[in-house]
Symmetry: C2
Subunit: 112 residues, 2 copies
């Protein structure tokens, strides 16, 4: 559905004004695609391992097969992840590594 969720979200945020209800809804919709423990784990794992099959992810995350597949399918549909089939396996990777920055930027803000 979405080519690249990060770029998409970025575009929305760039052009959004507080009173633009639609844009805000869309940005929220994108954020919700990652606002889940398992999904954050997927993102964090793939930021380290580059590419992993569903079963490899399953092992790492200790997540039930079907549930993980549901999450992966949806994250792919929303442009968070990429998927490549090789034989029996499906290898998932981050569509855009910059998505990690959503986490990193929070990390690197100089607070007081």
């Amino acid at each position: 559905m979405y080519e690249d969720m990060f770029i998409h979200l970025q575009k929305i945020i760039r052009t959004m004004l507080p009173d633009n209800t639609e844009k805000m809804e869309e940005a929220a919709y994108m954020l919700r695609a990652i606002s889940n423990g398992t999904r954050l784990q997927v993102i964090a794992t793939l930021s380290e391992k580059e590419e992993l099959s569903v079963s490899q992810l399953q092992e790492q995350l200790n997540c039930e097969q079907s549930l993980l597949s549901h999450h992966l399918t949806d994250m792919r549909a929303k442009g968070v992840l990429n998927c490549r089939r090789e034989g029996k396996n499906c290898y998932y990777s981050l569509k855009n590594k910059q998505i990690i920055q959503i986490l990193n930027c929070i990390n690197s803000c100089n607070c007081n």
Copy 2:
């Protein structure tokens, strides 16, 4: 409940590893506190106007009274917003302006 959602989220992210399920869940929980159109609107509006009463926000966002109140109450509980009573009015403000950076950083990342 949470003193400052941003700081809290920051701490979690700083110390989180892909395999730390609990931390990931907590980070996701925090992100969900802002992954909603109305809530993003509140944040964006308060980043411009500093402090607004519920009815002022209501007007700006064109959001039903009770619904807005629910959102505000929850965002306050999760440390996103601050609230100050003055007479009949309750003035809400961002607890930590850096929360805008969650949006801004997405905006300012140099892509590809």
